[in-house]
Symmetry: C2
Subunit: 329 residues, 2 copies
């Protein structure tokens, strides 16, 4: 009999205690707890890790304070466009969507991509067409509208920059020049860590692993930027032979280092254990100035939750243990 384990996250980055009221902190804790409980109920009842990570992420998507599903941030055009991915470590199958609109739970759509198509990643209008054909639950714009996010967009537009959720850092700006040498009106702006992304990893009773990640992207994002969340190997990875991983942070660095797969590669090829491998991946990110964290489990039910940022909204639970929710270091 194996040890079951579940870990979840709601984003990593600069979370200042000075800006956190005890009321708000309680809200975050409640959101994390609800998601952890939903996933654990499945594992504890003998369900699969795949069902557990999906259930946990659905709860995180439904919780308005995280940047996924209901709480997703607005694009430059005041739209909500979401990315999600899921991977089954037993079947080594995966599904992901990028730029889906009005889909209540993008993680469910990602799972349908995995199960109903031979593709891994569907994007844009195509992924929405697939969502319609496959008949997932849609929600109207009002469902996704949160005043808090809209104010973030207004502010970001005023500042002409891509605003990242939950961080106090100023994004660097890179100016795009036309071939005439003129500065374009809309600057292509950058991105200190991508926060508020949610994810879950699980090991079930049979030692099968699964991982899932979901995000609303960046406030005021333009040019169809895709980050690490819908990329298998970067934001999400699962393989029974090694580990299940869900990442959160400055997406481009996780893409650059194939961070989710890198944890597995360090286990397979360097023969590290889960804790060592996950720590090394995050340490390497720090060396190249990439900020963020990840959650990971192996098939023995070990859990790793390393991050190099000020905080990471996170929770975990394993057989015989207690439900733990943490925010700061």
């Amino acid at each position: 009999m194996k040890k079951s384990a579940l870990a979840i996250h709601g984003g990593a980055g600069t979370i200042l205690r000075s800006k956190m009221t005890s009321e708000l902190e309680n809200e975050y804790r409640h959101g994390l707890q609800t998601a952890l409980a939903a996933g654990w109920r499945i594992l504890d009842g003998g369900g699969t890790s795949l069902n557990a990570v999906e259930a946990a992420v659905v709860e995180l998507e439904n919780f308005a304070l995280f940047n996924a599903g209901k709480g997703a941030v607005f694009t430059h055009d005041a739209k909500i466009e979401m990315d999600a991915s899921i991977m089954d470590g037993k079947a080594r199958n995966a599904g992901a969507v990028a730029f889906v609109k009005n889909v209540k739970n993008p993680i469910k759509l990602a799972r349908l991509v995995m199960e109903k198509t031979e593709h891994f990643l569907l994007s844009g209008d195509g992924s929405n067409e697939f969502a319609r054909q496959i008949n997932v639950e849609f929600a109207d714009d009002d469902y996704f509208f949160t005043d808090f996010r809209y104010q973030q967009l207004i502010e970001a537009r005023r500042e002409h920059k891509v605003k990242l959720d939950h961080t106090t850092d100023e994004p660097k700006l890179i100016e795009a020049e036309t071939s005439e040498g003129e500065k374009t009106a809309d600057k292509i702006s950058a991105s200190k860590p991508q926060l508020g992304t949610v994810g879950a990893v699980a090991c079930d009773f049979w030692g099968n692993l699964a991982a899932a990640t979901s995000t609303g992207g960046m406030t005021n994002k333009q040019f169809g930027r895709i980050g690490d969340t819908p990329i298998i190997g970067a934001g999400t990875y699962a393989d029974n032979q090694t580990c299940a991983v869900s990442c959160t942070g400055h997406g481009e660095f996780f893409m650059l280092t194939a961070a989710a797969y890198d944890v597995a590669a360090r286990m397979k090829y360097k023969k590290l254990n889960l804790i060592e491998a996950a720590s090394e991946t995050i340490e390497h990110l720090r060396e190249i100035n990439g900020e963020g964290g990840l959650i990971a489990v192996d098939s023995s039910g070990n859990i790793a939750l390393p991050f190099n940022s000020e905080g990471m909204y996170r929770g975990f639970m394993s057989s015989g243990g207690e439900m733990t929710i943490e925010i700061y270091r």
Copy 2:
């Protein structure tokens, strides 16, 4: 003084000698030779690996027989939508585009994403908007129209399947069901190897590495499917410490195994040399029934070109060597 090296590919898969006339074979060889010469001219003149892979891929994109740029296949809606990515192994920076339309050379746009933005991957309408703002060269639909590709689309539509270029294998079909249990009219079909994708990898005089990959995707593709080509770590990867890699084949398997990064991981963590690492990555693909190949170079100018398919359009050249073009095993 380091040894310079350049390798290129024009896709891997089932290339039947019985269907190849000597005239057609000469055309392919000519296309590969032109691209190889364009890249080599840069390396030989003391230019950078980054300029060399870009120049080689531009030639491959301009050559109508490969499925990239001018020769790109048609989507279900008779559109041309292209993906490309490039990575600089010295700076460890990357750029990629997915679903760009009417951009004459997507690889040039990918390089601009790398150099002018802090993002790695721009997609869809957003990437086209970026292309307009950054003022790249556009070409009208007539430029991309090839009768050969249009006939492939007509045939694929008639067969209601996603047709893959250059392969004689029948794609498997997966049927999408609506929640009412009805079969959707448009089947979500699958994908034996993705062929005709082009790529280049190079090591320059200073031992700096670069990789580039470009594709038109699948004939009759729907639902915004993104394959491995624009995914850093899957289709393309470069790091001076290990290797530069460009992949071609059944994209989903290259995404599943983070194939391009996997070669680097086997070198870093397992301490394999380039040839061993590249061979193991392709051998692992074969074990999980993934068809395709890759080209790779390291900073000593070694070249690997493993593939597990019937053939791979390829060419290579290194300091003191001869220009070599090959198609079959």
